[in-house]
């Protein structure tokens, strides 16, 4: 098989698409140029962070000299499918955590008192989530996640802010229509962390959610508030079975 056809096959295998039940990845709403940018790794700026994450993965941290690779080994094997099942319940913390929080907790164990800088954390998230590209989102069947997920679902339908809008008002009822010039997507978290052209950089799902909350002129929750993870739990459940695209490009 020629390299080009292998590439094409790989692209088809993980191609984000329209799900049988009408769920659509945000990828489907983008213009052809932005889609091409995501599809081709040599064009996708998100790959810069994936590359940095790969370097950070084996870099020693802290006095003991431990690294991500020291415990987890080679990421292409050990991290395959991990991002697809987050947020998950963390027994040590006694609450559900999303992937960025899980990586931060690991970092904290290796190097107490020195949180990773934001760019390095993003790079690690991108690298870890990249290992699950093409795999379906698979929220764990964990009874302890049931209650937070329900709270997330309630938040999704809760009207907030001066505009008095709930997430579901746009992303369920009006998805596919337009807000100003831009299409309103269904809001599936299939490619986080994403490279957003508007941000000119990589950003997390929490950053995207915060932008929506501020957009309806509501006061966003604190960065470590449980509400974010609850919303993410609901979103992962809502998008279950859809393939991950990390690092996705969005307008």
């Amino acid at each position: 098989m020629k390299p080009a056809s292998i590439l094409l096959l790989a692209a088809v295998l993980w191609a984000p698409g329209v799900h049988a039940d009408g769920r659509r990845s945000g990828f489907e709403y983008m213009g052809a140029a932005t889609q091409a940018m995501q599809r081709d790794d040599s064009l996708n700026p998100g790959m810069l962070w994936v590359l940095q994450g790969e370097q950070l993965w084996s870099r020693p941290l802290g006095d003991a000299g431990g690294s991500c690779a020291g415990c987890h080994g080679a990421a292409p094997q050990s991290m395959r499918g991990v991002a697809a099942r987050y947020p998950a319940f963390d027994a040590a913390l006694g609450r559900p955590v999303d992937l960025p929080q899980r990586i931060a907790a690991c970092h904290q164990r290796l190097r107490p008192g020195a949180p990773p800088d934001a760019e390095a954390a993003l790079a690690l998230q991108a690298y870890v989530a990249h290992q699950s590209r093409g795999l379906p989102i698979a929220p764990p069947d964990d009874a302890r996640l049931q209650a937070p997920r329900e709270r997330g679902r309630a938040l999704w339908g809760q009207r907030i802010g001066q505009l008095d809008l709930a997430c579901s008002d746009c992303h369920d009822a009006l998805a596919g229509r337009r807000l100003g010039g831009s299409p309103v997507p269904q809001g599936h978290p299939t490619g986080y962390p994403i490279y957003r052209l508007e941000w000119q950089g990589l950003g997390t799902l929490q950053r995207r959610l915060r932008a929506c909350v501020v957009g309806v002129r509501a006061e966003p929750f604190a960065a470590d508030a449980p509400q974010w993870v609850e919303l993410e739990l609901h979103l992962a459940w809502r998008a279950r079975g859809m393939p991950l695209e990390t690092p996705a490009v969005r307008p």
């Binding site: 040599s42 700026p45 810069l48 590359l51 000119q200 950089g201």
Partner: protein
């Protein structure tokens, strides 16, 4: 920390032209934006990009504040001999980033 992503074929035939793609991680701060503290953020852009093929200049680009972050370039080069491609970015605040790639011509 500067990072770049360079894509080019490993082997090319003599006389054939091939595509080179470069992506550089850089904020390209225009110098017109205002930060959270109300002060204008100082300009920090890449001003020049160069590609040398065995010491010979094949591409040179001048960049301006309107170019978006993480500038991307795609260009074609005709294969002459096996050698190295040198990529060079220079910019404000002493920014300088260099990368090399070996090219084998059959």
């Amino acid at each position: 920390m500067a990072r770049s992503l360079i894509t080019l074929p490993e082997r090319v035939t003599r006389g054939q032209s091939f595509t080179v793609r470069t992506l550089l991680q850089h904020p390209m701060e225009s110098g017109f934006r205002v930060g959270a503290d109300g002060r204008v953020l100082p300009r920090d852009i890449v001003r020049r990009f160069r590609c040398l093929y065995d010491g010979e200049l094949v591409v040179e680009v001048e960049l301006f504040p309107a170019v978006a972050a993480n500038p991307f370039f795609e260009f074609s080069v005709r294969a002459v001999d096996s050698g190295t491609l040198l990529f060079e970015w220079e910019g404000d605040q002493g920014f300088r980033h260099r990368e090399q790639r070996a090219l084998s011509v059959a």
